[in-house]
């Protein structure tokens, strides 16, 4: 190596090192502009952050307070619930500050010993909207932040934070993505959320107060909604019970009041702020509470009463089934045979049988509750919003209808039937009669299974109280004739005799079950779309036909029909399972499984594509961006729009789930530092057409037409 070479090598090394040093210094300066110093206390550390590098000409500068709590610690929402305190801010000492408004991301509900608190665990960023006295000039923020942090101890902490945001371009800084992420967790105000609070009613029963709220979501189905109520004057509420209606588009919440209201007063007339949280969706609504009519805890109570009445009636009707009525008749004959027995003994025997029936149904309920909690323990929740569950229940109900129509029979092992039958013989004492009751239920299985099975399906979707209630009512209904005879032995004369009419009744009830299957299928289009629902319905219909063929034309081999029916049943259940990832999880997963073949965002490529006469559709999105997801669901992934994008444009996706400087710069070129952001480029619009945040189909289609230019056939 010559001396000259060495000198030039050293010179280049020095200049490289200087460049690196400068770059480091520059990045530090920019980091400082967008974030203040961390202030670290024992249980919490905090700093002020800004989404932008300079104040620019912004009417409101997006800033925030970033809080890192010690692991397992939490701090509180603006209405902290039964304990806790909200953060309190004092901006004294700030310069060029007109107002700083704190927003609260959606809080978590914490439950501890029946007490409810709302807040944030481990980490949170509170977005702050900063307005300046003189826009365009630097703003110096000084914030004294008092927060209560709690774990097994509550410690009030006071932090002094500072941040200077200089004058100059409002370019998105390193914190833009973080602030945008937490801003997207702030509940959306009222109508913009797509949700409508249709009714807020005060209920009262026996001095117990409750608030009943109905919320309608036109475009989407509720999954696991929660609601937080803040009333003025204040009152405390327990966790709501929720019932869903209209295929999951309507949620009815009943919030019990846990604080004492002054006697003679109610919630009616008070103003209420409702915060509705369903997964990553959150919205805020204000309303006035109306006086409710009718008895307290209204809807859910009356709904439960209705379910109880239906189950009771169902149980009673079961007695008329061909394989149940003979059991009753047998028992009645034993009454005749033992006509000389004292009435009190007859009564006790019939009561014991009734108890046996109720007991065996409660056993089924207990098994179901066990199954359900075991399922929940492994994260297998059963919800009526799950299309797979609805399809499975529809298949089962249709199978039961086939059973009612006699297309196939449910046969008990003969040993079991014989044992159950023999248990019915003679005078067996209280325990013997109790066993008869239990076995009567078992013996009745071939006919009662369709109804008990259907009840099982519906009960699984309910809570433990509903399961117990439905099966208790079924048991009491089934035991009603025995109870009636125990009370009034003369009733025995009015019990109908077995006959052909039972078969007709069975067929009619089969029709009722078929109707139930159709109703279940009518829920599906909301979740998996009309085409997929028609496919599921077709498979179930084919299954019914496969089972019916042998009965209607005995020459057709029974086994073939049954095997085909089994395959069709599995297909009907599996179809929504296959669709699950693209449709049923509603918003999640759409991006990965949408119909559009996205390419990765590349700003340079846009120019070259446009110069080739092509149209480019750019979507800047992120996993945490709720609006982005709803844009995809309601606009981009619809048939009309996705087909148009696929046919006429190059779809390009920029994923801002994690910070990305290139994407931030792209956003800032449109004066934005947040998403969603959609832009269409093309020969007719080389600078790009910026689309509105809330997309509409027309906006996208018109922009593609315009960007593709006069040629009208750009691709």
């Amino acid at each position: 190596m010559t001396g000259r070479n060495l000198t030039s090598l050293i010179a280049s090394a020095i200049s490289l090192a200087l460049a690196a040093l400068f770059a480091l210094f520059a990045s530090n300066v920019s980091a400082q502009a967008a974030a203040g110093e961390w202030q670290k206390l024992e249980f919490v550390e905090a700093r002020l952050v800004s989404a932008v590098e300079g104040t620019g000409q912004l009417a409101e500068v997006p800033a925030g307070i970033e809080l890192r709590l010690k692991e397992g610690w939490k701090t509180y929402w603006r209405s902290p619930g039964d304990a806790g305190l909200p953060p309190v801010l004092d901006w004294t000492g700030s310069a060029n500050l007109k107002a700083a408004v704190l927003s609260y991301p959606r809080p978590h509900r914490f439950t501890l010993f029946n007490s409810q608190t709302f807040g944030y665990k481990d980490y949170v960023v509170f977005p702050v909207g900063v307005t300046t006295v003189e826009p365009g000039r630097a703003v110096d923020l000084k914030a004294k932040v008092d927060v209560l942090v709690c774990e097994k101890i509550c410690v009030p902490q006071s932090l002094d934070l500072a941040l200077s945001i200089p004058a100059g371009g409002a370019e998105p800084g390193p914190q833009a993505q973080l602030l945008n992420q937490f801003q997207s967790q702030v509940p959306v105000a009222g109508a913009a959320s797509g949700l409508e609070v249709s009714q807020v009613t005060a209920r009262e029963s026996n001095g117990k107060h409750a608030l009943e709220v109905s919320v309608v979501h036109k475009d989407e189905v509720f999954t696991a909604p929660d609601i937080l109520a803040e009333v003025d004057p204040a009152a405390a509420f327990g966790p709501p019970s929720v019932s869903l209606a209209e295929g999951g588009h309507k949620a009815i919440f009943t919030l019990p009041v846990t604080s004492d209201l002054p006697p003679g007063t109610s919630l009616a007339g008070r103003a209420v702020t409702l915060t509705l949280i369903d997964g990553e969706h959150a919205s805020e609504h204000t309303a006035k509470i109306l006086a409710g009519s009718g008895p307290g805890l209204g809807h859910s109570l009356s709904l439960n009463a209705l379910m109880f009445a239906f189950a009771l009636l169902g149980g009673l009707v079961l007695n008329l089934m061909p394989c149940v009525l003979p059991v009753l008749s047998l028992k009645l004959m034993s009454l005749v045979d033992h006509g000389d027995a004292p009435p009190s003994r007859v009564r006790v025997n019939f009561l014991a049988t009734a108890a046996g029936i109720v007991f065996s149904l409660m056993l089924i309920a207990a098994a179901l509750i066990g199954l359900k909690s075991a399922g929940l323990a492994v994260g297998w929740g059963i919800q009526f919003q799950q299309p797979v569950f609805i399809a499975a229940i529809a298949v089962i109900v249709a199978l039961f209808a086939c059973n009612m129509w006699g297309f196939f029979e449910i046969i008990l092992p003969s040993s079991l039937s014989n044992f159950a039958g023999s248990a019915g013989d003679g005078d067996s004492g209280i325990i013997g009669n109790f066993v008869i009751g239990a076995f009567a239920t078992l013996l009745a299985t071939p006919c009662s299974a369709p109804f008990v099975g259907t009840a099982v399906g519906f009960a699984l979707a309910g809570g433990t109280p509903q399961i117990l209630m439905i099966f208790f009512a079924l048991g009491v209904g089934l035991a009603l004739p025995y109870l009636a005879i125990a009370a009034f032995p003369s009733v025995a004369r009015y019990i109908p005799k077995p006959g052909m009419w039972m078969v007709r009744l069975r067929q009619v009830l089969g029709l009722a079950l078929a109707g139930t299957a159709v109703w279940l299928l009518s829920i599906l289009p909301n979740q998996i779309g009309l085409n997929a629902t028609i496919a599921v319905a077709g498979l179930i219909g084919a299954m019914v036909v496969a089972l019916a063929v042998h009965t209607l034309s005995p020459k057709f081999p029974q086994f073939t029909g049954r095997a085909a029916a089994a395959l069709l049943a599995v297909a009907a259940i599996a179809l929504p399972l296959g669709l699950k990832s693209s449709h049923t999880s509603e918003l999640a997963g759409i991006e990965e499984h949408g119909k559009i073949a996205w390419t990765n965002f590349d700003r340079d490529r846009i120019k070259s594509l446009v110069s080739q006469g092509k149209t480019v559709f750019v979507d800047v999105t992120a996993d945490w961006c709720v609006v982005c997801k709803s844009n995809k669901k309601l606009v981009i992934n619809t048939d009309t729009v996705s087909q148009r994008i696929g046919a006429a444009a190059v779809p390009m996706k920029a994923d801002w789930t994690s910070p990305d400087a290139k994407i931030s710069t792209f956003l800032s070129s449109f004066g934005r530092y947040g998403i969603p952001l959609n832009v269409v480029y093309g020969p007719g619009a080389p600078a790009g057409i910026l689309l509105p945040e809330l997309l509409t189909k027309d906006a996208v289609l018109n922009a593609i037409d315009k960007a593709s230019g006069a040629s009208k056939s750009p691709s």
């Binding site: 909200p86 609260y104 007490s115 608190t117 909207g129 105000a189 702020t273």
Partner: protein
Amino acid sequence: MSVSLKTPAADCSHRKRTAAAAVMIIMVALISGGPGSSRAEDAKPTSDASALWSASFKDLTGTMQKFEGLKGKIAVVYFWATWCEPCVKEGAELKALYEKNHDKGLEVLGVAMDNADKVKDFVAKNGLPYQIVYGGREAIQLSKDLGNSVGGIPFLVVIGRDGKIADRIIGESKEGRVQGIITPLLGG
């Protein structure tokens, strides 16, 4: 959605509640010494309960109370607030402890760091049977004088018949721990 920061529709009740919270939290933070509050005091916890004998606080009727009456008795002095989540459990356990041991000579004094109305509601709702007083700055100063190095609650001090601090618990106590401390004192 660009970062358009909007005020959540804060109704009147929010503002009232926030104002109340502000008063409390500023009060508490001021007295706890803010960010500089040191744990160095941990190093030499006092065993002297004399700060209690010179303190005075209002009871729920607004009457000033002094605590010399506790001298020569086994006493648990319990610092708490209605906004303190772990205090809910601690308070319930202390109630049971008091009911079980009061006949044997145990006294409990609850010092609430809160406003009077909230304390009154809480005491009425939970039927707290022991003496309750409340206070702001002085209550927190007293808890520090009795060895509350963290400045948090629940904080609990057990004072023996000799007037000395037998033990103190900062934060939620394990079930049965307080009983374990007072049993030998009551027996002795």
